[in-house]
Symmetry: C2
Amino acid sequence: MKAKIYITLKDGIHDPQGQAVQQSLHTLGFEAVQDVRMGKFLEVDLQDMEKESAEATIKKMCQKLLANTVIEDFQYELFDS
Amino acid sequence: MKAKIYITLKDGIHDPQGQAVQQSLHTLGFEAVQDVRMGKFLEVDLQDMEKESAEATIKKMCQKLLANTVIEDFQYELFDS
């Protein structure tokens, strides 16, 4: 299975990186940009796994390592590889 | 309009960050992980724009600032906000 994982800051959590990108976009003339939120995107290859156990594994991986669940949310999609 | 932008390394481009994550996952016992590729994920809010001009704007933003198109690909989705 392949998984795409999206990690985003929770609403209300300050995002200085996003603000810096927004500022740079304004400087480049993209004045219409009202807000930018930065996140992480991971593509993970899992060897020989059923969909259900892959889903459980991905959840555990996010909770233990990939996301800081105090300030970040995660979402994922699974695909047959 | 709101846009979700996914920036990924092109195939064949070395991804040390992804390898480090993969190594850490193995250390934590997730032995089934065969490959990890790290990317970036951005959520961008665009003020009062038609879908077509928003699309053109997002493309330009990626080419000029957000992605390094020599080594990175970008994809995006647009949503009504």
